[in-house]
Structure formats: structure tokens, C-alpha cells
């Protein structure tokens, strides 16, 4: 059971809250300009972070207000709770380095989604933003 500190109501049991998924997924400025693929990526594709993750929660049994939370998906440690519309806060140096090593994609066994559907470096798919370029396939010819 997580004990979550609602910004309005103070610490309450996790059962009073509902999870709202990844935070900072901006609504496209010009949805009509998006291709079906870009629209689908905006609607359905989210990071699957192992480590510090910015996510939305709502205090559904209490004040019914939304807020953002920085939570470690491995340890469940809650690093920060901040308001809707506020930018993702920087973590303290010690926590940040611990989080960085956890989410380092070069570590074996780690999986971070950073291909066509990933939003690792740019949360939300801004309209007109170039889609992440796929790694050029390495041809086996001539090897």
C-alpha cells in the first residue's frame, strides 16, 4: 500500500487514488495535421520506464483533483509530488544519479522504448515534430 500525500488533503491510502498514466503528454497543437500513425502514437504509446517516472494521479475519493508525481517504478519511492501544469522537477543529485544508472539503456537487460514509438527524449508528440528516425538498417550484404 502506497501512502500518497495529496497536495490538498495530505497523506492518504493509495486506494483513495486512481492512476492517470504518463505525465507531460501534451495535446497536439494541430491534431488535424497528424498522420494516423502520429495520432495513434499520441493516444496510445507511452514510455515503459524502469526507474524514475513522471505520472498523473487523481485523488478520486477525496478532493477529486489531479496532480503529478515522480515515482520510481522499481522501488515505488515517491520522489516528488507537484501540480498539474508544472514542469517535471529535477531530482537531487544523489537520487538523480541513482535513477540515471537504473534507466541507462546501455546496461544489459534494460529495455527502454526509444524507437519509432518512443518518447524518451520528448514527452508528448509535438505536431510537426519529426518522428524519431529509425536506425538505418544494417545490410548484411557485403559483410
Amino acid at each position: 500500500m502506497l501512502l500518497i500525500s495529496c497536495p490538498n488533503c495530505g497523506p492518504r491510502d493509495e486506494t483513495e487514488f486512481h492512476y492517470g498514466g504518463q505525465a507531460h503528454v501534451a495535446y497536439p497543437e494541430s491534431p488535424n495535421d497528424l498522420t494516423d500513425r502520429e495520432w495513434a502514437e499520441y493516444l496510445f504509446y507511452r514510455e515503459n520506464t524502469k526507474g524514475t517516472f513522471a505520472e498523473r494521479w487523481v485523488h478520486s475519493t477525496g478532493c477529486r483533483q489531479w496532480f503529478n508525481m515522480l515515482r520510481d517504478t522499481v522501488t515505488y519511492e515517491i520522489h516528488s509530488i507537484y501540480g498539474m501544469g508544472q514542469p517535471r522537477p529535477e531530482l537531487q543529485a544523489s537520487a538523480a544519479s541513482a535513477g540515471a544508472s537504473k534507466s541507462d539503456p546501455t546496461q544489459p537487460g534494460e529495455f527502454t522504448q526509444s524507437g519509432d514509438f518512443g518518447q524518451a527524449s520528448a514527452p508528448g508528440l509535438a505536431p510537426g515534430a519529426t518522428a524519431p528516425t529509425a536506425t538505418t538498417p544494417i545490410s548484411s550484404e557485403g559483410v
Binding site: 490538498n8 495530505g10 492518504r12 483513495e16 475519493t61 477525496g62 478532493c63 477529486r64 483533483q65
Partner: protein, 214 residues
């Protein structure tokens, strides 16, 4: 208004009263027999008038609404009002007004229409929620012990003081819990949960009818 009611209006009010069934009416005898006088008692206070408010309390409309309710609470736990009309904090811009049934417009009162007039065309809502919830009153020296069997909040008087109301969970269902005095709690479950919560509380109260095991 009641003092100027015509015979037709009085007849209408009588019809309204006669047609009502409260959510825990069928448990009234069980509440009486399950109560332990002086230790813990449970009663239903049916038909209270309740109005849901959505308004920015710092706006002009908020000030007008507050003049009807006798204030709007500023933070979680706060309750405003001094007499029979009280307003509970539900959220930063959401409140619940609780008043005796006579305040309801269908019984000769004017609470809902007064609030609607106060809000005017400004942003917000005034919604008659009188049938949404019923009221249980749990009181006595062991009332807190009964609630502590299910409530995750700290109900110790050093934290949860008389005059405080919160929305939380009891027996896994959402309720408003209002501590009206040192040993008295008013619980507002939704109507459809009243039977479940009433029976749950009776079960939790049962042990206090027997002598305490030393």
C-alpha cells in the same frame, strides 16, 4: 415559506413526505436494537437537504454563495456555518451544503433556489443532491473504536478534531465523515451503500454490547 403556506401547499408537502423512503429505513429497528446506550449508538438522520456546489470561493459568485451558506470552507477538513446550515469542503472549488430537510424547496424552504440565485450566470454549479446520500450518526464513548476498525485515517482527537469533515473510505466505500462533537460522527454514504454500511457498522458495534474481556 411555512408560515404562509396555503392549504394546497401544505397538502403538497404532506404528499412529498408520505412518498419518501429513506435508504436505511428498513434498518431502523436493527439500529435501535444494535445500539449500546452510553457506549455506541447508531441512527439514521434521513432526508437532510444537501446541495453540491462548484464555485471559486474567491470570486464574486463565491462571495454571494457564501452569504447564503454562512461561509465557504477554505481547506480540507474545514466546515463552515454555525447554525443548522453547514458547508463541508470537498475540493478546492467543490463543497457540500447540509441542512435540515425543512430547508429543501419541496418542503417549503428555499435553500436550492437561494443558492441558484446567488450563483447567477457565473461559472459554477448548484445541484440538489438531497437524494444522493443519507446521514448516519454514530456516537458514544466507543464510536471512534468502531470507526477505527475500518478507517485508515488517524482518528485520534489530537489529529481529527471535532468540527472536521473529510471525504475518505469506510469499509472500502467512499463516504464523507464529519466529526460533529468529541464523541459524535456523522457519516454520509451514498444511498445505494447505506444498507451495506449500516449492516457493517452494526456488526462492528456488536462486541461492545458484551462485557469487556479483561
Amino acid at each position: 415559506m411555512a408560515e404562509t403556506a396555503t392549504p394546497a401547499e401544505t397538502a403538497h408537502v404532506d404528499r412529498v413526505r408520505g412518498a419518501r423512503r429513506s435508504p436505511a429505513e428498513h434498518l431502523a429497528d436493527a439500529f435501535t436494537s444494535g445500539s449500546v446506550p452510553g457506549t455506541v449508538t447508531l441512527t439514521e438522520i434521513p432526508y437532510q437537504a444537501m446541495v453540491g456546489l462548484r464555485v471559486d470561493r474567491t470570486s464574486d459568485a463565491g462571495a454571494r454563495v457564501a452569504s447564503v451558506t454562512g461561509g465557504l470552507p477554505a481547506a480540507c477538513g474545514d466546515v463552515t456555518g454555525t447554525g443548522s446550515v453547514n458547508t463541508l469542503w470537498l475540493g478546492p472549488t467543490e463543497f457540500m451544503v447540509v441542512a435540515p430537510e425543512e430547508a429543501h424547496d419541496s418542503l417549503g424552504g428555499s435553500l436550492v433556489s437561494d443558492l441558484t440565485t446567488a450563483l447567477g450566470n457565473d461559472a459554477g454549479q448548484v445541484v440538489d443532491l438531497s437524494a444522493n446520500r443519507t446521514t448516519f450518526e454514530l456516537s458514544g464513548s466507543h464510536a471512534r473504536a468502531v470507526l477505527e476498525k475500518t478507517c485508515a485515517l488517524d482518528l485520534h482527537p489530537r489529529v481529527f478534531k471535532a468540527g472536521t469533515a473529510v471525504s475518505t473510505e469506510l469499509a472500502h466505500i467512499p463516504v464523507m465523515l464529519w466529526k460533529t462533537s468529541d464523541e459524535t460522527y456523522r457519516i454520509f454514504p451514498r444511498a445505494s451503500f447505506a444498507d451495506f454500511l449500516g449492516r457493517w457498522l452494526l456488526d462492528a458495534m456488536r462486541e461492545y454490547a458484551s462485557p469487556e474481556v479483561p
